[in-house]
């Protein structure tokens, strides 16, 4: 490994660095002007890149409706394609702002980041539906002829990209520093009230900023796609290094942001170089995977921990409104009715519906874990799937590899989940709100690639077998059971139901306990909680432990359900999807988690949609994404609470009508 080689690889990383830089500067722009951490930035940039690629190969514009722009699927020229891609990006920026973030202008950071995850799911779903999940070779935009620089030879486009980033950053800096538009944007970020009273149109300013950010993402998405890979998940997850760069820049400095982005690009490229070296740690003969994903996570964790509060207090100063968390009612009757219905369903439903029911129950357990950590204590964690995965993988290791008997594997698995969750609670004691969301997102990516995707500690690319539960010689698994053996067996369904019931009752009990009250107190007002003597750190730790326990139960059950665990099942995008579904159902209540379970991918609702309306399961992520956006805007307390409120209002009206003429008094 020569100095030239190192230099060459660092320069090769310029392409990736430019992509991160373009997206990260956009991230800074949208955060500064509207307080939104746009975690959909990677996905929307990917969309522009896909559109460009399609135009350059078949001349078809995909909006999603496909519009052929050329005769006989002739490829479109590079410049018109680029122009169309940029126009689309601009349109996507305005649309996102007007339809999603403007209605949420006064909402809390939770609502905004959830809405943004809804956009991510939607755009990602559109891409997968239209172009599939497999990598596509992106057509080159910039010339790629090798050039010699400092004694090494690298493709020309890397240099052009890096140069373009520098030019664009300088332009942005000038724009925000010297133009009236830039001054107005900074003014509105300082004091929205001041700019309104002065007569500035904040809507125009903010949509212009969204256009800038979106165009930046689209531009670098199209230009840099050939240097990486055009694949929906990879592109979407670029948001992790992008957030790392933006956070290090304090969401305000373009210079630091861009420098960090190029740094990450160089590191990324160097890791690729090192992986080929004999000294690089090997697992099963292949280089240790996931090191690339680990880098931004470690950088983030260290920087956030040291800096404490890196984000400017722009929005966290106002008490963020959280979805309501009313006290659970009618728990006993609901549990009995639920038990009767589920047992009857397990006995009577056909295999496909039974599987959907089991999936729904599994999803509900996972949503319960979101209810505790996010709903009760207000901590946004995007690593719930990593926590569940920890449980799944440890269960597999203890049960299959170490061959220990039931119930040791699930106990060890759940303990591992609790430990993983507690690990995330360490930064949560210093970092709060959006920073924790970013950190857990990065942690989720790192866990998936570095642990689950590792052939030694995890399972690599293949699933790891999970030995079924065996009690007194009877195997309880989807294929064998004490009650029904047609897969999925009703007996296994019963086990899942008992687990769900136990988890739900546990959460009910927590909500009603003094600890639960302290959790909600911390969520309402940390200051007042402290002033009444509540140990806020301990309460957060307890919530993470509890969330870890529930996610662990879900992870173990997943393992048994599929008789195996695989890395792709416990990825960060699944975490985001689950988080969205939990918010959709209602993140503050147990019933919300149950509703969330109905809405999960391959759950009851989408099975019904597929069966009755013939809409394929591929559309579930699209509907889920759109539903998340609509819920956040229209019914921020979630479906369950809104339905309960509606029912109560109806009852009230009905009662009042019956009582009309008597006395109009409210009851207390």
């Amino acid at each position: 490994m020569s100095t030239e080689q190192i230099l060459a690889f660092m320069m090769l990383g310029l392409g990736y660095g430019a992509l991160i830089a373009g997206l990260a500067t956009g991230m800074v722009v949208t955060y500064r002007s509207t307080g939104v951490i746009n975690i959909a930035a990677g996905a929307t940039a990917a969309y522009s890149a896909y559109v460009y690629s399609e135009l350059r190969t078949t001349g078809t514009l995909v909006l999603p409706p496909s519009i052929p722009l050329t005769a006989d699927r002739e490829p479109l020229g590079a410049l018109p394609a680029l122009a169309i891609g940029l126009a689309l990006a601009a349109g996507l920026g305005v649309l996102q702002y007007l339809l999603v973030y403007r209605p949420l202008a006064k909402a809390g950071p939770l609502a905004k980041i959830v809405a943004s995850s809804g956009v991510l799911l939607t755009v990602q779903a559109v891409i997968v539906l239209r172009w599939g999940a497999d990598p596509v070779a992106a057509p080159a935009v910039l010339p790629q002829a090798p050039v010699d620089l400092l004694g090494v030879s690298i493709p020309e486009d890397r240099l052009l990209l890096a140069g373009l980033v520098v030019v664009v950053t300088a332009l942005l800096w000038t724009l925000y520093r010297y133009t009236r538009f830039g001054i107005a944007t900074r003014a509105a970020a300082d004091s929205r009230k001041g700019s309104v009273l002065l007569g500035l149109s904040t809507a125009r300013l903010e949509s212009a900023n969204w256009v800038i950010a979106s165009v930046l993402g689209g531009l670098f998405g199209m230009l840099a796609a050939p240097t990486t890979q055009l694949q929906p998940t990879t592109f979407t997850l670029l948001v992790v290094p992008v957030l790392t760069a933006a956070l290090l820049g304090g969401f305000s400095s373009f210079g630091v942001t861009v420098a960090t982005a190029f740094g990450l690009g160089a590191v990324n490229s160097l890791i690729a170089l090192f992986q080929g070296q004999p000294w690089f740690p090997k697992v099963d003969g292949a280089p240790l995977p996931g090191v690339t994903e680990l880098a931004p996570f470690l950088v983030l964790a260290v920087v956030l921990y040291l800096r404490g509060r890196a984000l400017p207090d722009r929005l966290t100063a106002v008490a963020p409104p959280m979805p309501r968390a009313p006290r659970p009612r009618h728990v006993g009757p609901a549990a009995v009715v639920g038990a009767v219905v589920v047992v009857a369903a397990l006995a009577g439903l056909s295999f496909d519906w039974r599987q959907a029911l089991i999936n729904t129950m599994l999803g509900a357990v996972l949503c319960l874990s979101v209810v505790v950590t996010t709903g009760f204590v207000g901590q946004i964690s995007f690593a719930q799937m990593a926590v569940a995965g920890a449980a799944g993988y440890v269960t597999a290791a203890i049960g299959t590899d170490a061959n220990l008997p039931f119930p040791l594997p699930p106990i060890a698995g759940i303990a591992a989940a609790v430990a993983t969750s507690l690990l995330f609670s360490v930064p949560a004691r210093r970092v709060r709100g959006l920073q924790l969301a970013v950190l857990t997102l990065a942690g989720g990516v790192a866990a998936q690639r570095f642990w689950f995707g590792n052939p030694q500690w995890g399972s690599g690319l293949r699933p790891a077998n999970v030995a079924p539960i065996t009690v007194f010689g009877t195997e309880i698994s989807p294929s064998h059971s004490f009650w029904g053996t047609e897969s999925p067996s009703s007996g296994f369904g019963l086990v899942v139901f008992v687990a769900l019931l136990g988890c739900a009752l546990l959460v009910v009990r927590v909500r009603r306990s003094a600890l639960g009250a302290r959790m909600l107190a911390v969520r309402s007002s940390e200051a007042a909680a402290v002033a009444t003597g509540v140990n806020v750190g301990a309460v957060k730790t307890a919530a993470f432990a509890m969330g870890g326990l529930l996610a662990g139960v879900a992870g173990v059950l997943y393992g048994y359900n599929f008789a195996g665990v695989s890395a792709d099942r416990f990825g960060p995008l699944t975490s985001i999807a689950f988080f969205g579904v939990a918010v959709l159902g209602g993140v503050g209540t147990v019933s919300g988690a149950l509703v969330g379970g109905l809405l999960v991918s391959q759950g009851l609702l989408f099975h019904a949609v597929t069966t009755w309306f013939g809409i394929g399961p591929d559309y579930q992520p699209l509907f889920a994404g759109l539903a998340v956006i609509l819920t956040v805007i229209g019914s921020p307390n979630g479906v369950a609470v809104s339905v309960a409120d509606g029912a109560r209002a109806l009852r009230e009206t009905w009662r009042r009508q019956r009582r009309r003429g008597v006395t109009a008094t409210g009851e207390s």
Partner: protein
């Protein structure tokens, strides 16, 4: 007890070039009602934050109950017996009124996750009954009027049986009769053995019920003493009404003067 309950000596708190508190000396003895008044931005809320631990003084000394508390965390100070209310109330909106109050009832040290219901209920019931809001126990804060919410905030602060209660503008937003009631409640609280520091703008209330007053202006104590004394103190009158002495009445002298020197 012989010594003062709380003593702040030469408390200074500066941030970003602003002197929010400047050499403030304050002493509170057991069982007294002390008012803190001053124009907006005089440092009254900052003083409360410094005493409760939400703001860290740049220098000075702070003792409570004979112990140095300057470096103690806010929750420790709370457990030592310093309670407070906020102008923004900061009620726990997701909890019922009785749960709000129960939060401040000291727990038996052993209970970590499981709740000691019995003991807590008594203290919480007492705190609500004391303020005449026992009937609101099962309501949510969001359903209550502002006046009721203020009382819930006070009940919560009292539930831990504090030795010192600091109140930040409790009368703001209350109407006349509510203010009178608030005054009675505060006298009652003091009579039962808790010292109260009352920060408020409502002069009739403060002058009418407090034993002693501190007047802050630009982060410094400009006057202190009995209400009657303070009320006639020229420095106080100037701070509130704008200087009305012959010197500044001379309009012609002031006409051309321009604001070059700001005050902080």
């Amino acid at each position: 007890m012989a010594g003062p309950l709380l003593r702040a000596e030469a408390l200074c708190l500066h941030y970003g070039g602003v002197r929010a508190l400047n050499e403030v000396d304050v002493e509170i003895t057991p069982t007294e009602l002390v008012g803190v008044i001053g124009p907006n931005g005089a440092g009254k809320s900052t003083l409360l934050d410094a005493i409760t631990g939400f703001a860290t003084p740049t220098s000075g000394a702070l003792t409570f109950d004979g112990q140095d508390v300057l470096r103690r965390r806010p929750s420790e100070r709370a457990r030592m017996g310093i309670a407070r209310t906020w102008q923004t109330l900061q009620l726990f909106e997701d909890l019922t009124v009785s749960e709000n109050v129960r939060m401040a009832v000291p727990r038996r040290p052993k209970a970590v996750g499981v709740l000691p219901r019995r003991g807590g209920e008594r203290a919480e019931h007492d705190a609500l009954a004391r303020l005449g809001i026992g009937g609101l126990a099962d309501r949510m804060p969001g359903e209550l009027s502002h006046g009721q919410r203020v009382l819930v905030g006070i009940a919560r602060a009292l539930a831990g049986d504090p030795k010192l209660l600091l109140m930040d503008e409790p009368a703001a937003g209350l109407d006349g009769s509510e203010r009178d009631l608030l005054g009675e409640i505060l006298r009652d609280v003091v009579a039962s053995g808790t010292s109260v520091v009352l920060v408020d703008h409502d002069m009739p209330l403060v002058l009418g019920i407090c034993d002693r007053l501190y007047v802050l202006d630009f982060g410094a104590v400009i006057a202190s003493g009995a209400p009657r004394q303070v009320r006639n103190d020229p420095a106080v009158v100037a701070a509130y009404l704008g200087a009305d002495d012959p010197e500044t009445r001379d309009e012609e002298r002031l006409q051309p003067s321009l604001p070059t020197e700001g005050a902080r």
